[in-house]
Homo-oligomer: 336 residues x 4
């Protein structure tokens, strides 16, 4: 870490700063330039609070050279992490997985039917929302505990491991038999929840927040990993920008970039990112092409009951078509 | 609500939609145009799920005429809400309040000294962070339970009611004697937490999320109010944009706009919004000028111990100077 | 177009509005709802100024059903446009073209060497900057007229048609033998320039502005097409967001979305979008996978002279590797 | 400027870099740290191209200590610039000016009537659009040359100096008697135009681009000043963000921040920034409170002819009311 000091820094403040940095076990290398003095901090600076230093009157600027994440950092774990979800179901390190299922769990019939449909088309995991974060308190909030029971039934029938979203620490006991716990975009910086998930021995699917940088995403992964749970799967699902033609802006360059920053698997959710069903297939193909480790796709089962047609959901047939297209891309996909 | 249908909508899907809307007690007024058919929905549409309708194959577009928030809506509560925080401490309806104090509670000495300082300068409420949301798991996470105890001591000594942030439902019992519970920007859409706060009889300071629209802010207030707790104070604290010269972009136009949308009080946090100490005073003045109901300002007490100098914190003397400047503006401030 | 009126609109203002709309040849269909009146405008509303109507005191909201662009609209031109650039060089309608070359033209040797290199690797067009838009007046502004001469030399030697950027109307005479004139992101809404280009019979490569919506991009294409020049190639090159890990955020979902909105070819510039050389290949592959009609890629020739190494430029060898990867994707790419 | 090198940089590339930097007259101070080497560049680095250095293989990061703008930099011109527009009309250094007038010039009657109205209410300059940048080629493009003639008539009748926007270099001869030439947000980086304006001896009102940082705004001012024209007035007019409740997001913190970065006057345009008439007054008050040197406000004259009611325009009476409110704030406004 480089700390650039202002001209003629206050002597007492500078001594305080040096003493404080040394108390953290850091070595300091001073370099006096023409119009500014530079301090080079030597040692493990990943736990140093940049904001705190930046805030000092005597500091002009702080520049990290080392990344603030350790467990998630590819520099210290050069090989891809391969996360085992169930027998024969792994993700990362060349194992590509498609997670598919309905936005919300609505009924036993629906949840089992879609599960069999997506399994037939080649999905490796089954997803469904039991707890639903909704902008409006008046909108359907999900089937909650009952929804998780239905997902577990679908798991038993289909043999597919299941992924579903947690919204609060207090609900965690319900997730005991869930295979992958999803942290939604709105909870990416719910740090108390992340800490709790760090104590589990279960894969966590961590979605990028709507206005989160990639570094913040990795710092949230770091919260989970610092607690001991290294099974984190990252998910790019679009960021909020000025463009309103799609629901969010899918940031696909984040895929190859994250793969250089971290060893964790990265999946892409083209359904939520675009909010438009006919964009799911091309974006799934693009995600596969640029090196994603998997996809998360919304599939519904009931074309007749129009109200289920999420604008962003595919029918099982459209999903199967998408799978064919993605499978044709995969052998030619980007590899680091 | 206006629903614009596509050309030649599928008859069965249209019948399904009409039946579903009527089952919610809505009247439907069909208007067949040249190239599209328009449905006008008559009745209380605040609980209708726009996304669900928008998702239908037969729907071209949906346009809300009525706002999706009710309890927070000024249309139904034309008068400003006045929220009583303690004896003699009210906010809203012409009552301007300044909430001041340190970013983090660090020690008994610090917390009490700053309290007396900001009280002397005219602050009406005292703030301090006990639970601290930090991007890094390696950064100081706050004194937590111990921090709240120190805040309560400062309350007793200074007589100022206190405001502090909650990060998880499970911590709420510790907040029994806290006067105002703050929901931070990162938790603005932690819906389970909002629901729980809706069952309390205590003022809630709800900060706008980093990438939240004003309507989403009001929908989060609606979560709290729908549970029965109408004591919600909104806080504009900057949004995330491409501009990096300030930490966030303070959206001051939101103040007069929110005041037309809702009857709830709105305060401004210039410290977090800008992240730069010398911008706090002018932005506090601007916020007062355009009709804010109050301010939330970071003040630290220890200029000698440089490390406390949050880049965004004022000394007590600078805070007193800011208060003078704001008090000179207030008699001339914008009134609806 | 749907105009939603406020309750009890002023009679005189309403009459004025109706008279004005009818004077534009529009039919009006009034539909009185419970709490609001809706006007449906029948006829060609593409030339109606939405802002003007939205601004009226009596209007609650305006909703376009019809798009404001005509010449660029796929509804009126269902087939893909195929734009002929030179003999045997077409783009669109299944013809995929790669435009490659250095950021700036620097010398005869450089410009010719790179041209031969990218031709050998399979590029169909050659690009190079003669006029360079630079944030700083102190930065290199390009070789200008001399640069265009060198590009024309490279064209003669390599046989590749050339693409280069125009920055001002007054420079247009220099572009007579340029095959494709590029409009840079900063000039996407330089409307006087667009109008002038509308009078040429030459393909125009129109780059999306840093903060432009897709609709605004199409409206700028419409400026050119309205003047009679229908040879417009659109270029997605990243938008400005809060994320700073990449220079801009490449919005790849815009590709399949634009292809539904317009019949014009769409190319992707992964070099400028990401600003990072090692992201160019995966993003080129992703762009090809989701249906782009071509790519625009920066290639430099002088690995020894380090200062030429644009952070975003590939060497000819890396470009050839990228071409192989893209060519492997193309047979499996998304088709509408 | 600080250049942080990667570990074990290629010797030849490093020598090339050093030679190149020395050829620009810069001194170099090498500081070898534990895991990285830092080069401190000594001398005038304002003309050094950061992107070019950042792009080098051997460079980890570059950090400017010195700003890239010189003429606009307050460090080198500590006193506020006071720009004389006409006899008795100055802006900056404590001189507050309000620029008011209609969005578009429409007729002689309109342009003169509004001029007399805003003069009576205390405006110091008169504005009106003759050349209008419009998103759609089908929207009204302004009265152009005829519009400028009408503005000059209004100037003669009212005695107010006039401000109007230029859209292309070729139109400049028409602006000979215009007092202040406005560069619109879309042309903030039309560098050829900026260079041309640098050769005039006439004040330039430079509006911030929709997605421009403050540093980019100052670099565009630098383009004009580098040509010799130091009479630049900056204008904050809102930036594009995800929030759609207002047309743009007015970034008022930019006012006190710009005032520390530059000596140039800064005005605020609350009309374009918000796009909502009832927000103009409170935002004008807030702008005055935080230290703006002036305002730019849209005023129309014809409340009866509803179609003129720009959503963002005030009537002359509302403008007079705004002026009273702003004048009450001014004596209490923030001063650096």
């Amino acid at each position: 870490m480089i700390v650039i000091l202002k001209d003629n820094p206050d002597k007492r403040q500078l001594d305080n700063l040096i003493a404080w940095l040394e108390s953290m076990g850091l070595g300091i290398h001073m370099s006096e330039g023409h119009s500014s003095t530079i301090m080079g901090l030597i040692g493990d600076t990943s736990t140093v609070d940049v904001d705190l230093i930046n805030a000092l009157d005597i500091v002009e600027a702080v520049k990290r050279v080392q990344e603030p994440y350790k467990n998630a950092n590819r520099k210290f774990h050069p090989d891809d992490s391969v996360i085992k979800i169930a027998d024969g179901v792994e993700i990362g390190g060349g194992n590509f997985q498609v997670i598919a299922g309905p936005c919300s769990v609505e009924s036993e019939e629906q949840v089992c039917e879609v599960a069999m449909g997506v399994k037939a088309a080649g999905a490796g995991l089954y997803r469904g929302g039991a707890f639903k974060p909704r902008t409006s308190p008046y909108a359907f909030q999900g089937m909650r505990e009952e929804g998780i029971k239905l997902l577990l039934e679908a798991k038993e029938k289909s043999g597919l491991p299941i992924v579903t979203e947690v919204m609060d620490i207090s609900h965690l006991p319900l997730f005991e038999n869930v295979d992958v716990i999803q942290v939604g975009a709105r909870n990416m910086q719910n740090f108390e929840l992340l800490k709790e998930l760090g104590h589990l021995d279960k894969p966590i699917l961590l979605k990028r927040g709507l206005s989160s940088t990639l570094q913040e995403l990795l710092m949230s992964a770091e919260y989970i990993m610092a607690g001991g749970n290294e099974k984190v799967i990252l998910c790019e699902r679009g960021i909020r920008t000025f463009e309103t033609a799609t629901r969010n802006t899918l940031d696909l360059a984040s895929i190859p970039l994250l793969k250089t920053m971290t060893h964790l698997p990265v999946v892409v959710d083209p359904s939520h990112a675009t909010g438009i069903a006919h964009l799911v297939k091309p974006m799934a193909m693009a995600a596969a092409a640029c090196g994603a480790d998997g996809l998360m796709v919304e599939v519904h089962n009931d074309p007749a009951r129009a109200l289920c047609d999420g604008a962003q959901s595919l029918t099982p047939a459209a999903f199967a078509d998408m799978m064919d297209a993605v499978n044709a891309i995969l052998p030619h996909a980007f590899k680091r």
